[in-house]
Symmetry: C2
Subunit: 671 residues, 2 copies
């Protein structure tokens, strides 16, 4: 590249973009780690985006109607940190950049949404940002349809690299965006032809432009170092009635000795090469030094949106009060006041009616009463609507001609669904829930982890949660998936035993602000075990005594979900033999762990043998079976220690010994 | 559809294809569950494939040079079971079909490779079969280049549905196939425009033909009910020098009242509609009844390959003996005789040299000695070659001009890599291993589970296995991933402490025949703890006493991987205080659990407090900390109970208390 030509063609632009490159070089050198090349390659695109298109106000990074900027290629985090420093975001003084990748800095190795207001998304695991962006754009459409374009009217801009586009989840994302004509979604592809292992052609010959066209996107190809072309492309993209992909041909690590090489992708820390690059830029300043005129120019950019924001605030204030309140309540993730009373009334009714229902059907019943009072919920399923029971009558289907629809047919895209749900939650104003078979948490797993890390209250509705799924066989029967979700920090796993517990689990899930929930629900019918109404939300305690021993307590059976009624039947068998047996229902281990010692000891006192019952692996159970054991000192577990099989469900429970008699025998064996 | 026109146009074809449809209807009706529509829609394509193109011999389903047939749309399992019954596979008598989806039947709800010889792949989780097929085609290319086209020359045929193509992993698969010009891979897309939730257009508007073209595939569009078009397309596909996708326009549930509807996707069990469909076919036979002439015609098809197989056997016998032996040894998954001696010599050398190495680097050293003596290994990495240390000097890079290359640059496709590795292992003759960051087991997870379920000895090389990854931060730091892999049945998780244990882990992993391995390896350098050479493979025991208490044993520290040296340092601190401390290295919990009670009690006797040390979550540890505890009855754990952070590694271990002093203090607290 002829840097001189670039500089002289547009010196103002050049100095602004070069500030990003210089800060990137300096921060990576200081940290002695990081990724220099990507921010250096995409500095021109980002500069034009921020200078001329992105609607934002640096002093108010949480302004609800701001455009969203997502750095899907999260390893290039210095791009976003440089930009935020330059525009005057007070959370990013120069000290933060000097502390790049150090303990407690906001400038983490990859952008983390919970460290800074202006960082919209936690990215780094490739493909996630572009998949999140679909949720952002959908949330914007839904909110715009709900509140009107006067208060909701913004774009979602994404910078994605080759890595993002090679990940499979990007295909799920772009086909969803194409299907729904998410025209306010604009992806800028950093087409630099470099991956860590070498040139992209080492592993890929895909015609990305043709691929996006096949997914019904508008596409534009530009020189990613030409500010006029960048500006024109963004203008064109904003006018399109389709989502737009701008293929930006760039040079990774522009101007550095490592330009256009995979070395340039990583940390460029050689001091001489750093100096040489700055010289080539015509940048005469010291480390972390930005000349006043360049900083002022950038700060002006940071204030570009002030008037627009103020005008928005005036328009917002003119909205009817009820609408404003709902808008703000949803944004703050406050549950509606009616939630608690609604759940209580529902529980009372169910305790009396005592239906035999699969908990997936219980969940649908709960949603039928909750969705009408929580207009912020957005439901969906990955092509298993009838099986996941996620659709209720009032939601309407989100589509190109019904943007207010609150139900999304995600197609066979579990991963894309979960990532987009995260995007919706990050966008704010909506509360996403989505369903698939429990076994396919495997597909959604990268996004479910990010929901937990990013502190998003997404609700994953996972049905067919054991061998109770039956004939579809072991490919579809979860065995280890409860353990997987429970192993993940900041995740609540609810496995309700009946309709009442399902209602309690939903009440908690829809009240959480920073924790995702996994609802583990059955395919098969279960009797109501909570036949006595209680106002208290018992699931909130994690575990509780469902039925106590009639005589001296010798056995405690601890069970979750479908196995609670099995444990109750085992209790009948044991008590008939004079063996006093307590049944503890344990719908949420995480919440039980959070109770105080005294409560936990009341529920699980010593002096009795313990048997855990759950149609899954034992992992995670020992803390309750062994950790607080008393004088008997014996414990057992009835569950699965292998994959399941294809057969009718009842036969499978019989085969694997997860029956009342199997549980009773496990207890007898310990006595 | 005018069934009459179809029937009269080609009555011979019609009766053969209708036999599939009738058997499908009968079996699903008998099971009262399953998926009728897909086999009914694709019966014509499958009939022409088996009759005119697929190289196979029904009596010898394991003939190494057979064509592979993969039903990626695994829910349509009755297609494959019908075909196998019709061609005379002795594992599929009519009784098996009558037992569809019942306990212990070969005719499981979804095809399971371990239940029947002719079922190549376990499918059902959508997108997996098409992703596996890339591995099949690569393995064929590698074997052909190695042994010559006289003994290896076959195709891989895949039937994939809309669900397969919507899953992200399919994009990773087709771009890999296109990149490598896997011309012997032929995908037949069941283009029926129906998913469970409704028409495909409900969730997708992708132009699939354009998408495959963008990925450098040859594409053909046909009427999937016209046998001449099907035949011509398959002929054309076999001649192409690119992978070929044949878009087969079909009618799901052809001829049934539910034709072309999403109801037709599921179980069609209404007896009257069943009868009406058979009438419409002109099929006058009872349930599970196949007229003699039709069955004979199919059995002739089953024998089509006999002469070809015999000729192949003659050619195979003419290969040099050494080549034959290697071919057969690799196919049988027997480790070479030299393996054990090679590992022993390497261990001796390492115990003496006692290098300080990251275990990822140890792993590279091991591979440098193993790859030359195991020509069946095929290595690779998902764009982290230099970080995963998976490439050794002698492998050569697999490419269009080097089909014998044994190293694959998978690109940023963890899921596609793992699925293709499964395909390679299923194809046979090669032993795949592949690397990524441990944290991205999340992306590969659906395929890793299927490796375990399908009994495949794939080796997943997962480096950067804790907060020791450092500055990249929590998005890249595994915390729950050891627990996730350990929760999965039939999976060995190895977390070696140094170069010697790494060699032992590789020896086991490359000797396994039916179990996948996860190698959990560090980014950071570790001292050699096994400085005293032992011929015995200690990792094989799962856990063992690395250093015993010098004085009366009061403490047992149990650690894995990078924390073993931390535990050794803690032991020094404690023993200096007169507290006798044993250190147990536990590189593989699954193997330790498989030892007899006596050994386990020798390693973990009572009478001492226990502290587990691992830079991950506690889940999975309690069985060793609490399960066999003795009279002190106290145990603790030093590890992670939250996500990590972005900072230099040493500072993170300090911050989270995973240090010698932290471990020593945990022990002191218990005493």
């Amino acid at each position: 590249m002829d840097l001189n030509a670039l500089r002289t063609a547009n010196p103002d632009h050049w100095s602004k973009a070069t500030a990003i490159r210089a800060l990137t070089l300096d921060a990576v050198a200081a940290a002695n780690s990081g990724h220099s090349g990507m921010p250096m390659g995409m500095a021109d695109v980002a500069t034009v985006l921020f200078e001329k298109h992105l609607k934002f106000d640096a002093a108010n990074p949480l302004w609800p109607d701001r455009d969203r900027f997502i750095l899907s290629a999260g390893h290039g985090s210095m791009l976003i940190y440089s930009l935020l420093h330059l525009v005057g975001d007070t959370q990013f003084p120069i000290e933060e950049l000097k502390n790049f990748r150090q303990m407690s800095a906001r400038t983490a190795g990859h952008p983390e949404n919970f460290l800074a207001d202006a960082v919209e998304v936690t990215t780094g695991p490739l493909g996630q940002g572009i998949a999140n962006s679909v949720g952002f754009a959908m949330a914007e459409e839904i909110q715009r349809a709900t509140y009107g374009a006067k208060v909701v009217d913004h774009h979602t801009y994404v910078i994605a690299g080759d890595g993002c586009l090679m990940e499979g989840v990007s295909q799920e994302a772009i086909t969803l965006a194409g299907r729904h004509k998410l025209s306010k979604l604009i992806v800028m592809w950093d087409n630099n032809n470099i991956t860590i292992d070498g040139p992209v052609t080492l592993s890929d010959h895909t015609d990305q432009v043709a691929r996006f066209k096949a997914a019904q996107w508008h596409t534009i190809e530009i020189d990613g170092h030409n500010p006029e072309e960048i500006d024109a492309a963004l203008t064109e993209a904003r006018k399109s009635d389709m989502p737009t992909m701008i293929a930006c041909k760039t040079h990774i690590a522009l101007g550095h000795a490592a330009q256009d090489t995979s070395k340039g992708h990583g940390a460029l820390t050689d001091p001489q090469q750093l100096t040489a690059a700055k010289e080539a830029y015509g940048w005469k300043y010291g480390a972390f030094e930005i000349p006043k005129d360049v900083k002022s120019a950038w700060e002006e950019i940071g204030k570009r949106g002030v008037a627009e924001r103020q005008a928005w605030e005036e328009r917002f204030d003119k909205m009817p009060r009820a609408k404003r309140e709902t808008f703000n309540r949803a944004l703050a993730l406050d549950a509606p006041k009616k939630l608690s009373a609604t759940i209580k009334a529902f529980k009372k009714q169910m305790s009396e009616a005592a239906p035999k229902l699969a908990t997936r059907a219980s969940s649908e019943k709960v949603l039928e009463v909750l969705n009408p009072i929580m207009p912020e919920t957005v439901g969906g399923s990955a092509d298993l609507t009838g099986s996941n029971n996620t659709k209720t009558g009032d939601l309407g289907v989100f589509d190109t001609d019904n943007r207010a629809g609150r139900y999304i047919y995600w197609g066979i895209r579990e991963h894309g669904m979960a990532s987009a749900m995260n995007g919706m939650a990050l966008h704010g104003g909506v509360r996403p829930y989505g369903g698939t078979f429990m076994c396919f948490t495997d597909y959604a797993r990268p996004a479910m982890r990010l929901a937990a890390l990013s502190k998003l209250p997404s609700v994953f509705v996972m049905t067919h949660d054991s061998i109770g799924l039956g004939e579809d066989g072991p490919t579809h029967q979860p065995v280890e998936h409860l353990a997987i979700s429970r192993a993940t920090p900041n995740t609540y796993v609810f496995r309700p035993a009946d309709t009442v517990e399902t209602a309690e689990a939903w009440e908690i899930a829809l009240s959480l602000k920073e924790t995702p929930s996994v609802l583990s629900l059955t395919r098969q019918g279960l009797p109501t075990v909570r036949t006595e109404h209680k106002n208290t939300n018992m699931v909130e305690k994690g575990a509780y005594v469902l039925a106590d021993a009639d005589t001296k307590r010798q056995v405690i059976l601890i069970a979750s979900g479908s196995e609670v009624s099995t444990a109750m039947a085992a209790r009948d068998l044991l008590q008939a033999e004079g063996i006093g047996t307590r049944v503890v229902s344990m719908p949420c281990m995480e919440l039980f762990a959070a109770q105080d010692d005294a409560y936990r000891k009341r529920v699980l006192p010593g002096g009795a043998v313990r048997v855990g019952v759950e149609a899954g692996v034992r992992m995670g159970w020992d803390q309750w079976l062994l950790g607080e054991r008393g004088k008997f000192g014996k414990a057992g577990f009835v569950g699965m220690d292998r994959f399941g099989a294809s057969a009718p469900a009842e036969e499978l429970f019989e085969k694997f010994g997860i029956t009342a008699e199997g549980v009773a025998q496990a207890a007898r064996d310990l006595l």
